[in-house]
C-alpha cells in the first residue's frame, strides 16, 4: 500500500507569460483516492493535462509506475498515448466522447493498444481477427454492465442523456485497463441523487479494479466524503494538502475560497 504510483516533482508550465502551474508536487500512493480542488481557473485541469502528457511540461519531472512491469518510468519525452499505456486513464471536464460512434465502439477504441492481430488480419477477416473482436466486445459489455449501459451499447454516444455520457467517459477510461484513474469533474452538471449514485459507482470500481484515483471536483460533499487526501490549488500553486478535516480548517484554503475578512 505504501508504494508511490505517481510522483510529480515541482512541475510547472508557462503559457506565454503566465505560469499556469507553478512548482506543483504530488505523490499518489497505490490505492489512494485523492481530491484536487481549487477555485475556478486555479489550474486543476492544466495539472491533469501535464500528468497525462497532453500539455508538455515547462519544467519538473513526473514518474509513473507502469502497470505492466511495475517499475517507475519518467514521462520525460513520452507522448500522451505512451503515458496512457503505462496504465493511466482519464476523463475530461468537457465530455470528449466519440459522439457519432456507438457506446460499444467508444469502449472498444480504448482496447486497440492491446490488439495482437495485424491490419492484414482485419482486411482478410481471419479467424484470429474474429476471436479478438469477440474478446474486445465481451470485455466492453462486461464493463458496460457495471455502469448499467449494456442495453444501450448500440446507441450513438451523442444520444445518451448527459449523466450517462459522464458515466460512459469513466467506462471508456477503464477500458484502457488503467491502474491510475484521473477524473476531471465527474459529477459536473449532475443532480444530488445522480452525484450520490456516482460516488457509489466510483467507490465500487475503485475496489473492483484496485485503482488509484485522482479527482477534480467542485462538489464539496463528494470530495469530503470520498477522498482520503485533498490537495488545494490556487493560482497554479499548491496552497494546502491534507485530510478532508484538515483542509476544511485550513485558513489558506478558506481564504482562497471565501476571500479575506475585511475589518
Amino acid at each position: 500500500m505504501s508504494i508511490p504510483i505517481l510522483q510529480a516533482k515541482e512541475i510547472s508550465v508557462v503559457f506565454g507569460g503566465l505560469r499556469a502551474v507553478s512548482d506543483f508536487n504530488l505523490t499518489l500512493m497505490e490505492g489512494e483516492l485523492v481530491g484536487l480542488i481549487g477555485p475556478n481557473g486555479a489550474g486543476k485541469t492544466t495539472v491533469f493535462n501535464l500528468l497525462t502528457g497532453v500539455t508538455p511540461l515547462s519544467s519538473g519531472e513526473i514518474a509513473i509506475r507502469s502497470s505492466k512491469d511495475g517499475k517507475a518510468h519518467s514521462t520525460k519525452g513520452m507522448k500522451a498515448h505512451q503515458i496512457a499505456r503505462l496504465g493511466l486513464g482519464r476523463t475530461f471536464q468537457n465530455i470528449r466522447l466519440f459522439k457519432s460512434l456507438t457506446v460499444l465502439d467508444n469502449l472498444r477504441i480504448s482496447m486497440d493498444h492491446l490488439r495482437r492481430t495485424t491490419i492484414a488480419d482485419a482486411i482478410l477477416r481471419t479467424r484470429r481477427f474474429s476471436a479478438e473482436e469477440e474478446a474486445f466486445t465481451a470485455r466492453s459489455v462486461e464493463l458496460l454492465k457495471i455502469f448499467e449501459l449494456d442495453d444501450k451499447k448500440d446507441l450513438l454516444a451523442r444520444n445518451l442523456p448527459y449523466g450517462e455520457q459522464r458515466k460512459l467517459e469513466i467506462a471508456r477510461a477503464l477500458a484502457t485497463d488503467p491502474k491510475l484513474l484521473l477524473l476531471d469533474e465527474p459529477a459536473a452538471g449532475m443532480n444530488p441523487q445522480e452525484t450520490k449514485d456516482l460516488m457509489r459507482l466510483i467507490a465500487f470500481v475503485r475496489e473492483r479494479f484496485q485503482l488509484t484515483i485522482l479527482l477534480i471536483e467542485h462538489d464539496m460533499s463528494l470530495v469530503m466524503n470520498l477522498c482520503e487526501r485533498i490537495a488545494v490549488l490556487d493560482y497554479g500553486q499548491e496552497i494546502a494538502m491534507g485530510t478532508p478535516a484538515e483542509i476544511s480548517r485550513n485558513p489558506a484554503v478558506i481564504k482562497a475560497y471565501l476571500g479575506e475578512e475585511e475589518i
Binding site: V54, H81, R108, S110, L124
Partner: protein, 329 residues
Amino acid sequence: MKKKGVDFLLLLGSGLLVYCLIASLAWVGVIDEYYMQLLSVAGVYIIVALSLNLITGFTGQLALGHAGFMSIGAYTAAIFVMRASLPLLPSVLLGGLVSAVFGFAIGFPTLRLRGDYLAITTLGFGEIIRVVLNNLEGLTGGSAGLQGIPSFSDTGNYTLDAIIKFSWIFAFFVATVATISNLIRSSPGRVIVSVREDEIASTSMGNDVTRYKMIAFTVSAFFAGIGGGLFSALIGYLNPSDFNFLYSVNFVVIAVLGGLGSLTGTVLGGLVFTFAQEWLRVLGDFRLVVFGLLLILLMIFWQSGIMGNKELSITGLVRRIFRKGGRAQ
C-alpha cells in the same frame, strides 16, 4: 461465425448479380459501348473517391491533392506497361505501391500536426507532381502527353472490349470497397474514425494517433494510385495538365456529395457525378453553370450528402426482411 459466412455469401452474390446484369445487358446491346465506357470511368472515379473518403471522411483530414496520387499511379502503370512490357495487372499494382510510397513520404512530416496542414500540403503536392510530370519529357512525354497506352482488351469486337474493360474496373472496385470497408470495421479502423471524432481523447486512450493517420493516408494514396493505373489503361492517353487542382476537387465533390464517412454514399456520389456531367451536355455552355448550381442547392438542402455517414447494407436489408418474417409467426 455462421452469420459471418452468410454475410459474405450475400455480398458476393449481390456483387456478382450486379456484374452479370450489367455485362449481359451490354452483351445484348441494351447498354451501348458509350454507356459502358461511362460506367467504367465512373468506376475509376469511385475508386479514387473512396480512397479520398478514407482520409477525409473517416479520418477527418482534408486532402486536396488526390489527382496527384492518381497521376503517379497512372504514369507508373503506363510506363511499366510500355517501357518494361510488364503485364497490366502488376503494373497497376505497382502504380498503387509507388503512390503509397509518396503518400507515406508526404504524410510523415505533416500528419503529426493537428489541423488543416494536410489540405495545404496535399494541394501543393498535387501541383508539384503535375509540373514534374510535365518536365520529365523523356519518361512521360511531357506536355504533349503519353499516347498509345495499351488497353485492357483489344479484340476488335467493341462490345466485348467494353465488357472486358468494365470487368477489370469492376473487379478492382469490389476489391477496393472490400478492403476499405473491412479496414474501417475493425479495431484499427475504429481508432482511425476516433481520430476524426476527437484526437485528444483518442490519444488519451493510449492510441498512437499519428501512426493511424499515416496508415489511413498511405492506404488512401495506394488506392488513388490504383485508380490512376486503371484510368491510364481505360483512356489510353495521359496528359499532366488533366490532373490539375480542379480534378482533385472533383473527388472531394464526389465524397461530399455521397456523404463523408459513407462508402456506399461515395459509390452513389460517383455515379451521380459522372452521369450528371454527361447528361448536362445538352445544355452546352451552360453545363458547368447548371452543374455548379445543382451542387450548391444540394449542399444547402442536403448538407450531409446522399447517405450522410450511414451505409446502405444489403445484408442488413435481407436480415430485416427475415426478422419481419420471423416476428409474424
